[in-house]
Symmetry: C2
């Protein structure tokens, strides 16, 4: 029954500070250990691998061939047909002239194809960030009253986004993105989709006056206040376009092979809209059109970056928030598609690629770009093989800008609204929200905080509210770690939670507790209270003197670290237990914990003989001492 | 070698939301389960116990007798002799007339003796909070230019402190105090002691002009700028007093029996100082005295509470910060002494007692009080038995206020400075700081942030800096949980960290990983990366095809909870592993984790047969499937 030989706890000398610190830093910033493979290479190979590591282009280009290019060409042309209508639409959402949306799909794809590590990501502008930019920057400079200043501030914000993303990438702070939880993103996307759809009512109903606020109440208020401006012609055309787009989406869900129908549908809507507007003289019937689009490539915009201290706070703030969201979206999307092909993307490399893309973009009349979901999904489905599809898209956009741009001047605004609305309706993830509600109520609250916060207050407030709640939860996890009482499972040497395994039996006179998570300042008081309460409960059950607790075993297998306050608590706990005549033993401390306990002389205080490698060992030992004490008591 | 019968994981139906939520709330707010004992009582007894619970006076008073009173009387008189000089000194530190320091030792002790749960705590004002109050409130209203307004704001801040403390107590939010770590308090106390000592240079050198800032640079600057005001007479008297006080402290350390010498030393200094000043006409020699002290008890001050919106932010802020610090100090001190006698104090009850003390105090011309360390230690050493010693002190203070107050008008300021300096020098805990440096470098940084922040910037900035760092650390713990690879310890069924126990051997074809701490949004990306890296490392070691990993066992014993992002990560991990041909098994999930996994249908996705109760079981199972697959491979 007893294990034949007792296994000893390893009391090796604690590692030095430098060793432990280096190990900690590595775990914190390089969890993926990127240079692992290069360790055993020759210097020349090492240099080559390092260059390949930082510039992924050199990794895939040498092996590139015509067969792969055929796939990428097709995918590139398909995403261009999506890039044109989306570029124009989202630029309208950001309150800047539509041509800048097209510019933004020309330069950034080339940059990404050099530095990006994902094979499937398609570069472009995104609706949520476009609206967030206009909301944040628009609060300081009006896009109507001073469009030039407003445009320059948008470029500046894009520049800051780029700097921020690059810096995070080089500092390997991908960890920041980790703090945007799944629930936060679901809620944020849903809320954003709602407010963007409502924004489109302006285009759909052909309104002239509108509000600059984005929350549901203001927008609906503005829509109904300007009832006299509603144009039925515009609404009818819009509903027809929207119905067509939604039908193609439905088709894609039913027959995944027909994905290309929904991929080119927005382009179809734009072309049909243009032809209709041109021949029907739509402007005269209250259907507004995009208006003049100049021929020609991106003009430089580096001279327009505005670092005036008056506007600095707003541009920096807009840059940081949109940068973080764009990054989170881009990285998450790149990752999801890579997983489907069992490949991996590197979050930190992606950040650097996005950063360069936005810095260079802000110099060349582009605004914020990242990897939008819809475009990437189309790229993936169209069979792209490498980042070359982005290069193809860049060339197609160049041709469009050089020759075709003026043709799009007749695009009706209502067509753009229909395209945006259709894209946004797909982003409200009802199923996920219901799933969250069923599985985890707190996650649901975090999700709803983002959803309702974005819908009813503003995008950044909603986001911060949700992240704040998630952090609060993280701190509560830490402040109230799970502890449980263990019992022996019959016919085995296993000890498990008595609540979870009602069949397990406690050992007479011995209380076995399992502590989870790190022990430190935020939870040490709780742990002390909780342990003492377990003892009180245990002794309360039976008042007979024979069933009193004589030994407390603390199983520290799940305790990954401890700080000074935690150690003080252990010392305090031991004093209290001593005064109650209970002996404390420690089971299976992990290396970091044992090091600290040794350094703080706790090991010496309670004696190395009170440390055990397994609960079974400890219980055997207790049984021995229990038995002997009983014999002594019986002797007189 | 194999366990005879496989123990099954308990897949009971998940608990309902209400049950789980109630259990969580109980763990969060009632970790000490205060009503546990009352459950099985009769209604009348229940009422009695409830009253006794909320008003501890009724618990000890019925059993009180003359024998206990003898001890408390002695202790009460001893602490009064400390209360008078400290009251006057700290009131000077708070920049309010000295008489209010005496008032503050009259009413609050009575309140505490009714509601307080500690037997040893002696009520009084504290240096750190006095200075912090004057620093915060002084920024808005000058104590020199408008002393009446300043005094009223101090009362108002005290009122807010009381409201805040009471509210926290009733809401059972003692959890907030947990976020002030041991290291933060050590650093904060040390830094405060330094700046308070420097403040005393004004009194010691007899300066007239001084600065309102508290940081080291400003104070030393002010001292040296006013070199012409230095008075050697004052300095000589001060140094003599300080030397005497330090000598009595030294005596106490050498001979603990003589504690009463150091306890009455401040009173001796005051009395000697008064006599000296009276006969030597000290004022004419540049030694300033306290000045007029009116006879009489506390006048009401409820009508002076100032809720003017102009001053509200500063009084609320001062109230919250000083309230939190005072509470942390008082609770920690009460607890330390209770432990020495193997008794317990209740943090939440203490908060309510402190809260009532300060609310009633603010109505009766008292300012912020708590349980100061020096007074409580003296009370404990003088042999107090119950909170009656506070009542005795209250009566003694009443007599002092009624008859003796005017006698203290000759107290030289330099004597008060010597008393404060001597008290503060004992609060700089060098040993603890060195200990922190040795055991935990990050804790040392947290401590130094408070120490240097308080010394060189300001008290609240230093405190927030330190708490912020501590929280950052808590989040990092959570974001980068420890994971380790397990190996089998020879001749046992134990699996332990291979780094910690180099003797343990890995199992061919099976990788066993132990995860610690909760798995959720902040660490799920990291966990995925880390697990994949372990697999890469494992397969990198040997390139031979035979040694490939076929099974991954995740030991979740130490994982206390999981959220949606964590579950998504597990699903993602499983997809990646599937594509690599590695089978995932879960070992010993805890009840909360298993519930969530079941609800999210993860259990169904990987199959219940992939869950094991112990690593040994899982390894046996893997070995079986490994063996069978090898046989199949060898067959052709």
């Amino acid at each position: 029954m007893a294990s034949p030989s007792r296994q000893a706890v390893n009391f090796a000398a604690p590692r030095g500070f430098a060793t432990a610190f280096k190990a900690d830093c590595k775990e914190t910033f390089f969890p993926d250990d990127p240079f692992h493979e290069m360790k055993h290479e020759k210097p020349l190979n090492k240099l080559k691998k390092t260059i390949q590591y930082f510039i992924p282009l050199f990794e895939w280009l040498p092996n590139y061939n015509l067969r792969l290019f055929r796939y990428d060409l097709l995918a590139g042309i398909t995403i261009t047909s999506l890039a044109i209508p989306q570029g124009i639409s989202y630029a309208k959402l950001a309150n800047i002239p539509p041509i800048y949306g097209l510019y933004s799909s020309f330069i950034p794809p080339f940059v990404y194809s050099i530095f990006g590590s994902s094979k499937h990501l398609a570069v472009g502008t995104v609706a949520a960030c476009s609206l967030l930019l206009s909301e944040t920057v628009g609060a300081k400079a009006s896009p109507q009253d001073d469009p030039t200043l407003y445009l320059h501030l948008i470029f500046t914000a894009t520049f800051f986004t780029g700097i921020f993303q690059t810096a995070l990438g080089f500092l390997r702070l991908g960890i920041l993105v980790d703090f945007l939880s799944h629930s936060t993103i679901t809620g944020f996307m849903g809320g954003t989709a709602i407010i963007i759809c409502l924004q489109q009512l302006k285009g759909m109903l052909g309104l002239i006056h509108f509000t600059t606020h984005t929350d549901v109440v203001s927008v609906l208020g503005a829509v109904f206040r300007h009832r006299n401006e509603w144009r039925w012609e515009s609404a009818v055309v819009g509903i027809i376009f929207l119905a067509f787009l939604q039908f193609t989406r439905y088709l894609r869900q039913k027959r995944p092979k027909l994905f290309w129908v929904s991929a080119i549908a927005p382009m179809v809507v734009v072309v049909v809209g243009c032809i209709f507007a041109f021949f029907a003289h739509a402007e005269k019937h209250g259907i507004q059109i995009v208006g003049e689009l100049k021929k020609g490539l991106n003009p430089p915009s580096i001279q327009y970056l505005n670092f005036d201290p008056q506007y600095l706070p707003v541009t920096v703030r807009a840059g940081l928030i949109t940068g973080l969201i764009a990054m989170a979206e881009g990285i998450a999307i790149g990752r999801s598609f890579a997983i489907m092909k069992s490949e991996q993307t590197d979050g930190n490399k992606e950040m650097i690629a996005f950063g360069f893309m936005n810095i260079i973009g802000s110099f060349t009349s582009c605004y914020l770009t990242t990897g939008p979901f819809s475009k990437t999904a189309v790229n993936f489905n169209a069979g792209c093989r490498t980042a070359m599809s982005n290069v193809v898209m860049g060339f197609c956009m160049m041709l469009t800008l050089l020759f075709l741009a003026p043709l799009f001047r007749y695009t009706p605004l209502v067509a753009l609204s229909a395209i945006i609305m259709s894209a946004m309706l797909g982003l409200i993830n009802y199923d996920e929200m219901i799933h969250l509600f069923k599985v985890d109520k707190f996650d649901f609250v975090i999700c709803m905080a983002a959803f309702l916060g974005v819908s009813f207050i503003s995008m950044d407030v909603g986001l911060m509210l949700s992240v704040g709640l998630a952090l609060l939860r993280a701190l509560l996890y830490v402040a109230r770690p799970a502890a449980c009482k263990l019992g022996k499972i019959p016919n085995s040497s296993l000890y498990r939670d008595t609540e979870q395994y009602p069949g397990s039996t406690p050992i007479q006179g011995v209380l076995v507790l399992q502590l989870g998570s790190p022990i430190y300042f935020a939870n040490s008081t709780y742990i002390r209270e909780r342990v003492l309460r377990y003892i009180k409960e245990e002794q309360g059950v039976s008042d007979s003197k024979t069933d009193i607790i004589e030994h407390l075993l603390l199983d520290l297998s799940g305790v990954s670290s401890i700080d000074m306050t935690g150690i003080e608590t252990f010392l305090e706990l031991r004093r209290i237990l001593d005064s109650k005549g209970i002996k404390l033993s420690i089971v299976n401390p992990r290396i970091e914990v044992l090091e600290k306990l040794t350094l703080a002389k706790f090991t010496d205080a309670i004696g190395k003989e009170s440390f055990f490698l397994s609960i079974e060992d400890a219980v055997q030992n207790c049984r021995f001492s229990l038995h002997s004490s009983k014999t002594t008591m019986e002797e007189p």
